[in-house]
Amino acid sequence: MVILLCKRLAQAFLILLGVAAITFVLLYALPADPARMIAGRSATAQTVASIRHELGLDQPLLVQFWTYLTGLLQGDLGRSYAQKTEVWTLIAARLPATLTLMAAGIFVEVVLGITFGTIAAVRRGSFVDRLVMTASFVGVSAPQFVAALLLLYVFAVTLGWFPMSGYGSFAHIVLPALTLGILGAGWYARMVRSAMIEVLNQDYVRTARAKGLSSRRIIFRHALPNAILPIIAMIGIDIGQFMGGVVVVEAVYGWPGIGQLAWQAIQQVDIPIIMGVTLTSALAIVAGNLLADLIAPVIDPRIRTS
């Protein structure tokens, strides 16, 4: 187990290094010149050259990358070009909001997904099944922008149950989490349904039925735990996705997450912020998957032995 963990950590480190290298080279290859963006329209060529020198952009690519890496290993993500603030400060300020929304969104997804996926599997072929599957199809294909505005209009503007915008209290998170959760739940519902159907066709379920167990006990004690494994893997992926920022939902609800930071940085060719956000979300994806891999054997003994 410890060896496996070490192996996985080494892998994770290499992945992050790879992400850093690829992102760095891609940003370097952009035709836009950050020094010119900073220096503004009135700048002389001399000023632009001086600023390029200040930023170290006149160095060869490898030297620049090495400087960045050594900084990174000391926990220094550099300073934003446009804001001059340390990138880590900017990310850290937005991390709580991003993590909160991630947790709440995934919670809604999982609860809705498992509930409706199970109902659909148990009532396979019925009207309820078709309704759940249609709804989940609509959910996964609906544009976030439309769904977010619709919820906002109904529950905040018209009914006034929740605040329209902002961050800080429980009431603020309900609508953003519901938007993400309802849209994402479709994936989970479909996944749970097909996994459940597979499990419900297994011999041991038939045996359980034959010995007279209640169907509630069969579903909750015997079938569901075995069908839940793919859900854990999906959560791992979702963590990464939500960490990278859910730009649209953040924008509609004025949620101060990482997505807004990344979006503005891309507009301004603010390379240190783009690097910082990319690495943070890469780290989250790696960590999420690592966590999923570690939890899987706890739930499923078959993985433990193999």
Binding site: R41, A43, Q83, M164, S165, G254, Q260
Partner: protein
Amino acid sequence: MFKRWLLGTAMATAALLTPLAASAEGKDIVVTYKDDITTLDPQIGYDWVNWSMIKSLFSRLMDYEPGTANLVPSLAESFDVAPDGLTYTFKLHKGVKFSNGREIVASDVKYSIERAVDPKTQGPGAGFFGAIDGFDDLAAGKDGGLKGIETPDDSTVVFKLTRPDATFLHVLAINFASVVPKEAVEAAGGDFGKKPVGSGTFLLKDWTIGQKLVFERNPDYFVKDMPKIDSFTVEVGQEPLVALLRLQKGEVDIAGDGIPPAKFLEIKNSPDGAQMIVDGEQLHTGYVTLNTKVKPFDDLKVRQAVNHAINKERIVRILNGRATPAKEILPPLMPGYDNDYAGYDYSVEKAKALLAEAGHPDGFETVLYATNTDPQPRIAQAIQQDLAAIGVKAEIRALAQGNVIAAGGTEGEAPMIWSGGMAWIADFPDPSNFYGPILGCGGAVQGGWNWSWYCNAELDERAVAADSMSDPAKGAERIAAWKSIFTDAMKDAPWIPVTNERRVVAKSLRMGGENNIYIDPTRVINYDAIFVK
């Protein structure tokens, strides 16, 4: 010494506002923006959102009467301009304090302007101070400051210029010339933009990154009865549509991003619409650059032909009518705008005839660059269709702003660029601001902003001559000189002037004041002057 101006002290500014002061003062207001505030460092901030906040956090030697383009002394009590226009002497108001309690002295002015020029600051304002003696050395990164700024005593600042610069008083009124305390800049450890200390009408009380900024009135501001509100809270990351809904509910007082197109007519036709919409002209021209170094735009007839080809009314409709068709380079609000200039009228026949004369009866193929944020690609498509009507096939390259800027500044790269989304909004209300970097020979260099690569040595000489007339008495003559420079530039048709965009701000019914303090020509929202009814 031919002129001594003692009249216009900043007190005049306050006097101008006394009618407003009669209404109830006080109150706290909420302002929203979609984009986060990048920085409040006056030597770095350079976008239309932070511009107005920085204006109110800091003071400068010169400023403008609210809602106008009229220069008045601000931190300066008085000033003299030497007859040769090379020496400017300013006397500071005594007893003006930074919000950290220290009194402002002459060396603070010197330090602040040196900070704007120093490449270590990495700011966009250096170029404005090019006339000050010692600029070249400091801009090249050499130590020693600007030798052209002298401080004989604590309340006197003398500027020595290497060439007369009639815009110099405007330069001292732009944000980059704001006075900052050295000790606070150094204490902030490179992040003065998040911990600003100034001497303006407001103080920054609190900044929650990514959420909101709270500005409180400066109780020690050196002009009495300013500002008119107790505080304003800026909430960022607010989608314009949601901001407008909140404004209608009374949660927001000013929606800084204006009114989204989908809501515009609904609001406009509502009973309170007229009071909520502030629709004002700004010093802006949207244009298409025609690269004079790329075939076939090196041919004047071709440039004139495409000037006749663009249906500007249709582009105005794409902008929901929030613009007017442009005929010339300068926007109508700018001194020197030529009311009598007819421009190139929209005429497919004339365009085709000129193309035929130039030897392209069947048109040609070219490339049109534009930025990729709405509505710019749609405007580029409208231009593309107009060009197609005269046989010119333009391929559109819609790219991120930085990439378009890079293409424009590379010789022989971009035949046409639609400037929307990065167009020239004047830094100060003077026509020379529309020439040098974007139409002069100095900007037609690698990495420059003259994307037409237009270089007319004769016009350059006339521009230098006009900017040497720093005697205020010659103001009218100077503006006339500029007017003819821009009219003559249009004869060479380096641009297609397309639109003059207006800005729209939405405000709640309790907000008072004329439209021109919500869309102030030099600062957009004038937080010093707006008030609650």
